[in-house]
Symmetry: C2
Subunit: 318 residues, 2 copies
DNA sequence: TTGAAAGCGCTAACAA
DNA sequence: TTGTTAGCGCTTTCAA
């Protein structure tokens, strides 16, 4: 009956008294609405798909947790796929999202220019939200300000007197990887410093023990490092421990991307952090507006990093 | 039309020629089946829910990845929720799984005896697969052999001459936490050794820097450690580095649960590993059998750990 | 404000 | 082997 449906969905045009009666009856009978029937009739699955390149990246793990919570409040179920950067898994995930009738998707794939991915996204039947990727499609987008972030980190170290800073970021073929090296170089020049050696792991999960050890074993080794906050960070700490280099006495350290590891390390590690709740709110607001047809123009926002100053940096002794 | 449906679903009773014609036409028209309609009519969502206590645990991250892949091959979409051990999130997740008509769920919640959880599971409308939890319900189950695992680890260290071994496991209120301490004690006695000090973090993600440092700062410190392979492991490595204790020269180390960190650490860390593909196959086989109504009795299996001997253990000097 | 009726897009049962 | 028909459980539309 129509009234029952309206009562259960808090729709207008039902007498308060009727609504309560319906809801009480539903409770007593243990009524469970059938999601498939609702989706079929209303043409809305109330499902939102997420495609992240890497679930081991603390940013994505934390983000997914918050986003799932937030969207659950709005009655949506969040579905996640981690592609481990594999192209075919990303294509498969997008296809599945299309088949299963996601109401929207949030994506940060490992391949941002692949023509097949782009084509799948172009004809994707629901709104798309892109997270810090330069994918050539019309879609709502939130990008991170990697240039400002590097200014913050390099500036902080320069102010402490560091002149030789070792960056350790992967050169993955997506926006963050592509921008960070350029941003680092620009920030160094901006601080009147000259970029020197660098370590560039293939992926954010590639071990960097050897490379970091090599870079720090020369005569005038860098006095500070800026290190990606993924697997690269434990791997770097491993190398520092083996070299008997203490943080911050012997070398200063900044992590790009905050994590439990950085926060709880002894000493705590200074980190570039994204405001996760702002991130989640922006995604949620945009996605819901799109789903409800309230959004008009494509939205492009930039989110800055904050520098969480902790105990891993100190004045350079050099 | 029935024939079209049968052709698309590879159902029997369709002429090969017809099937091909239908499939070609579907391809040319870009036909996308409607998942909601299919779910409504066939009473099967082809959705499988997973509830894990902690997505930051490398076991669950890796397991979810493999399981998602494997179930995708069978045409199922896997939905994951990480509760961070929070009771209300676990209850909410189970309710959502019920509302959304999961065809089955795979669970390893952080609360295994909570009456509300048990009640929700008792009246859950689909098959349940329980992973290493002692939940008092009738359900297919796979548990890990924590006693054999500790025998392996303690035995290995005892054979190397270690007599004082420091265990670092959380005493979380679920099966693994509950069993590991008892298993460790039993293994020690079995090896003719006496259990001594131990570190018991609240959760697998609680930092243990202070506690480990304290335990290793006494006069005759343990010569070996067995450490949970979650956040406890980086936290322990942090403490060892600060104490200038080298692995394995000064102290031997075994991780309970394998991870990228253990494998890629220098030196690589000996670890108790679960055979993940066996794990995934057991879950997949059981869950599919249940969904297809082929399973009869409740299945209970035990999965052993293997000791991956790497470079982090050596003969005790004491 | 409520009830009645139609129909979302499939698949299962049945008839041809 | 194929076509026809009914109906899954909701929401939406329309009429009362």
């Amino acid at each position: 009956m129509g009234t029952a449906s309206r009562a259960m969905n808090e729709a207008p045009g039902v007498m308060e008294q009727t609504r309560e009666a319906v809801q009480r009856a539903a409770r007593e009978l243990g009524y469970q609405p059938n999601a498939a029937a609702r989706a079929l009739r209303s043409r809305s699955s109330r499902l939102i798909g997420c495609l992240f390149s890497d679930l081991e990246n603390p940013l994505y793990t934390r983000l997914f947790n918050s986003l799932q919570d937030r969207l659950a409040d709005e009655g949506f179920v969040t579905l996640i796929t981690a592609s481990a950067g594999k192209l075919d898994r990303e294509k498969q995930a997008i296809s599945i999202f299309a088949e299963r009738g996601m109401d929207a998707i949030v994506i940060a794939p490992g391949h941002q220019q692949d023509p097949e991915i782009v084509q799948l996204l172009e004809k994707f039947p629901a709104p798309i939200f892109v997270l810090d990727r330069d994918i050539p499609i019309q879609a709502d987008r939130l990008v991170f300000d990697h240039f400002a972030a590097m200014d913050l980190a390099v500036g902080h170290l320069a102010k402490l007197g560091h002149r030789s800073i070792l960056p350790v970021f992967s050169h993955q073929n997506t926006r963050p990887g592509l921008m960070r090296h350029a941003a680092f170089d620009a920030a160094m020049r901006g601080a009147g410093l000259t970029p020197g050696a660098r370590v560039e792991p293939e992926t954010p999960n590639t071990p960097v023990f050897r490379e970091v050890q090599a870079a720090l074993s020369c005569d005038d080794r860098p006095t500070a490092m800026i290190v990606q906050g993924t697997h690269v960070l434990p791997s770097t700490l491993n190398a520092l421990a083996n070299l008997r280099l203490r943080v911050p006495e012997d070398i200063s350290l900044i992590a790009v991307g905050d994590s439990a590891l950085a926060e709880e390390h002894v000493p705590p590690i200074t980190a570039l952090r994204l405001d996760r709740s702002a991130l989640v709110e922006e995604i949620t607001a945009r996605v819901l507006a799109r789903i409800r047809g309230q959004a008009t123009e494509v939205s492009e926002k930039v989110l800055g990093y904050q520098l969480m100053e902790r105990a891993s940096c100190r004045r350079s002794i050099a």
